[in-house]
Symmetry: C2
Subunit: 594 residues, 2 copies
């Protein structure tokens, strides 16, 4: 699919256009130009564009106009560079062709995405299929290779062989986020890949949530050059002082901008500060927009508009060593230009992306290329046979006590968990959950290898009063994750997920209540945006109606297999306490029971 | 010679030191730290160093002290990053082991140098020999591959085969300066090399002297990302607005800082502004210092000290994509740290370079490694036979007119020339120069190929009343360049240069007046610093005494073969007008004589 490299420039045509020997294809005439390099705005700038790049910027009438030159009169408008998303997860419900219109409409012209969701679902081929879906689109995408932080031994750490092949691609510009605890606990799984990545001149994306002082320094000593996990201005400043790019997150997982905006008054230089979404919910994407909404919020919470714009353009480009290509309006750069009426109102009425006018008078003028995912994508989710209620029984392991102390995942917030020790009754050699006390069954099922490997445990505080809730796309894994009040309903939910070829299913006491098919790799829906949003709304509404108190129960469910949010998590091999990364046996040993 | 890469990090030891599991080798305790990333200065910082890198920065007592940890108490001192020279020519009179002490003493810890002088004198092997001389030294050097702007067809444009081999080296971080007119006049000689360099993720160093508007834009469209040639604040701002790093030059060729300092009041962001020397005279190096003097001058002419320091540290590192290794005091970076008493007085009393204390109480504590240049270096300057007065005759080419109009190089300043048309007498079929009217003979002799290829012309305004002045190291060439009032003296001077194996010779009416041998590649002296300075002083003094009005006649002489300073230049093939890069015949054609 990929024919032209992101880095390709038709230098001869571009040079000739700059020299005035050739007519530009497009001119943005007489704009007020935001120069992100000098942090200035100046008036009467006319931007001459050749193909996908900017050739020359002159004064009001300083451009050539040929018979096929399109001239956009930008008198009174403000021209700013197209936005660059520096950290996100595009393999998250929406295929890129569904996501793209909503991103493009608001002026995002380049996205750098993680690929970590793809790799467990189909290895390198799945990553490549995903990358193909991103190219030859009206906006540009680059990606990081998956680092594969994970709690499951089988998944942990991208194999060098695959990493090396991926690093050869010029659309892979770095190694994706590697969770600091994972790295410290398993340096042998990560450090060789770090070394290879740095040797290729590519970046190591960080994830240093909560790390401070010596731990943070030790992690950064490995060559990590970004972190999108700081949640306070103080954490941001600590990272900036360490000379890494701090990415302020404002998206589907967390909204940190308001808390971090305190930094404006702290007098530190913001050149290493970036704005990122880290992923965004389809509904928010449609309703609120994408990076334009984040930049707007940055302005609203107190950042100077010029700083806010730099945080979503030049600063991100600099971090990835891409400033020669994107991030500013200057000769040689991609012609990614937004026209605004007001510097404080980030609502581009015109969006130029790679020299093409993709939004005019606020209306999207392009259609994304529909990517046909590989046939293998439809067969990623594989269970050897339908599951039954028996698959979710939890043996007391020959212990004939009437009750046993077990480790339970306890929800502390909608994402953070802790390890609780709770006494559960046994019956017929099985441990019995207790829905009345909100102690439900949870199971993490390896979903790609036809082996039925799974682990059953207990979770407290998820709130379901009845039913089961299952999903593919469980973080940092190839798991189907399911929580339920009843083993039979859990089996029904998981089997429906399998029937769908991957997806999200809510099963009530009597019937299926909601579902969304994610047939491609168990990750991507294949429906129009509005239906996806409606189905997700219904899923969330139903799970909440069944008792779950969380704002986004799907996020809460999928994060339970994740390797980065403290503390007790689950995978097909068992419970894992992130404090040491080791398997924590379900049933407490005699000496642990006190 | 090179065993360890600049990029190598002992990550395990560094990480353990950061974690506090291992004692640091060196601690700078309780400093006031200049953080170039956040543009802050904060107190009570203790910097723990492991090997050549910074592991951790904590509060006053926040460091481990083992039995072999050296602790430098920096109470009351200011710690700033070691300086980085972003553009210079180290192949310029002093071998690196002679240059180094004077650079190191003032706190320069990394130098990025051109290699263009080496390549014409011995090809890739000479470049490699030079690179070897730079490594395993107490301060770090990186280099750019020679782009080979030149007026001589034979030299013009580095052959791709050699460039590709050089680009594989990790101490070659870019392609050196390519003069914009050369590139526009001969795109086929440059563009393929640009493409290869950019594909390797390395930088293209620019030279856009005098270019503005469309010409500048066209040049930058090729992927050029720096220019060290702006001489006014306005030229700097134009370059910064184009998103390239503007390098302010303050050295042996020009001193532009004062004029450019006006930029401080222009309200533009300075993150793309760098300080460079572009080469420095041995005497100035010894007397005034190196980058510390340039940073000092920046402060003296009005830059905020924090900005001035960033311009010689972080900003340079960013330009070359080296900010993960150098340019700031942060975990994982090289331990390159200067201790000052006063932020406005750039006189480091302590210099830490790659974790070693190389200057203590103002005294240099290290000795450079003496590099033995390859035996071939001694045989670079090769003439087939001694030259005679006859070699410098200039035939009137069968024209029997009593006088002929000829093109003459006329010195406009000490460096800039113009093309003058002057009528000269002929005698016995030869054109006769006119020392009384300051019209001297000049000859550019191909000095490496044993072929005696040379071109004789005339120069006006050089000022010699008698004698001859010859030198190797003529810019952008493999030429011996000689100017004289008398062909016999010119032959004597050139033959002495050849005897010396390269060098600089001043010959008076009766005797040799001064000389400096440059036996290695005709570029490097092999004597102690003081003798080199004394000999250069004598050379300059003698040439001035002979009538030359220029402050640095050696620079004026050598620049006459250069391809970047307007307008009429000379090489072994003839006179070349830089306006079109074509050979300009010595004798004007009939139609040109009007």
């Amino acid at each position: 699919m990929r024919k032209t490299s992101f880095y390709h420039v038709d230098v001869t045509a571009l040079m000739e256009t700059a020299q005035g020997k050739r007519f530009p294809d497009l001119v943005i005439m007489n704009a007020n130009l935001v120069n992100v390099y000098t942090r200035e705005i100046y008036s009467k700038a006319s931007i001459s564009i050749c193909g996908n790049r900017i050739a020359y910027i002159g004064g009001k009438d300083d451009f050539k106009e040929g018979p096929r030159t399109r001239v956009i009169d930008a008198t009174g408008k403000i021209a700013i560079p197209g936005f660059i998303e520096g950290h996100t997860h595009l393999a998250w419900l929406l295929p890129f062709h569904t996501f793209l219109p909503y991103a493009a409409r608001g002026g995002t012209t380049t996205i750098i995405t993680e690929t970590m969701e793809m790799y467990p679902m189909g290895g390198r081929a799945a990553v490549e299929d995903f990358l193909d879906s991103l190219h030859h689109q009206p906006i540009k995408c680059l990606a990081t290779a998956p680092a594969m932080g994970a709690i499951s031994e089988e998944i942990l750490g991208i194999p060098l062989k695959d990493l090396e092949i991926m690093l050869q691609r010029d659309d892979i510009i770095g190694l994706g986020e590697s969770y600091w605890q994972n790295v410290f606990q398993n340096p042998h799984r990560f450090l060789p890949g770090f070394d290879r990545t740095l040797k290729m001149g590519k970046t190591l994306e960080g994830h240093s949530a909560g790390a401070t002082g010596r731990k943070l320094a030790a992690y950064l000593c490995l060559g990590i050059s970004s972190c999108h996990e700081p949640i306070t201005a103080e954490q941001v400043v600590e990272r900036l002082r360490c000379g890494i790019h701090a990415m302020v997150r404002e998206g589907g997982i967390r909204s940190d901008l308001e808390a971090i905006s305190k930094i404006v008054k702290m007098g530190v230089d913001l050149r290493y500060l970036c704005l990122v979404s880290d992923g965004i919910e389809p509904k928010a994407l449609k309703q609120d927009g994408y990076l334009e909404a984040i930049v707007q919020k940055a302005i609203d919470v107190g950042f100077d508009p010029l700083d806010a714009i730099r945080m979503a353009t030049l600063n991100v480009a600099e971090h990835f060593h891409l400033a020669g290509h994107i991030g500013g309006i200057a000769p040689g750069r991609y012609a990614d230009i937004l026209l605004l009426d007001d510097l404080r109102k980030i609502r581009p009425e015109t969006v130029i992306s790679s020299g093409k006018c993709i939004v005019e008078k606020g209306t999207l003028e392009i259609k994304p290329r529909i990517h046909a995912f590989s046939p293998a994508s439809l067969n990623s989710v594989k269970l050897a046979r339908p599951m039954t209620a028996d698959d979710f029984t939890i043996p007391a392991h020959g212990d004939h006590e009437p009750s046993l102390m077990v480790r339970v995942i306890e929800m502390v917030t909608d994402l953070v968990t802790k390890e609780s020790h709770i006494s559960l009754h046994t019956q017929n050699g099985q441990l019995i959950h207790d829905p009345d006390s909100d102690i439900l069954k949870i199971s993490a099922i390896e979903g790609t290898q036809n082996q039925m490997r799974h682990f059953n445990g207990f979770i407290a505080g998820f709130g379901l009063k009845e039913g089961a809730f299952a999903s593919t796309g469980a973080w940092d894994s190839a798991n189907i994750i399911v929580i339920g009040t009843d083993a039979r309903l859990m089996a029904l939910a998981v089997n429906r997920v399998q029937e769908l070829g991957g997806g999200i299913v809510v099963w009530g006491q009597r019937e299926k209540l909601a579902e969304l098919a994610l047939p491609h790799y168990g990750l991507f829906a294949d429906e129009p945006m509005d239906r996806i949003i409606a189905k997700l709304d219904r899923i969330i509404g139903m799970v909440q109606k069944l008792g779950c108190p969380f704002p986004n129960p799907l996020l809460s469910l999928r994060a339970l297999t994740g390797s980065a949010i403290p503390y007790l998590r689950i995978c097909e091999n068992g419970l894992v306490n992130l404090k040491d990364g080791a398997i924590a046996p379900l049933i407490l040993k005699e000496r642990e029971r006190s």
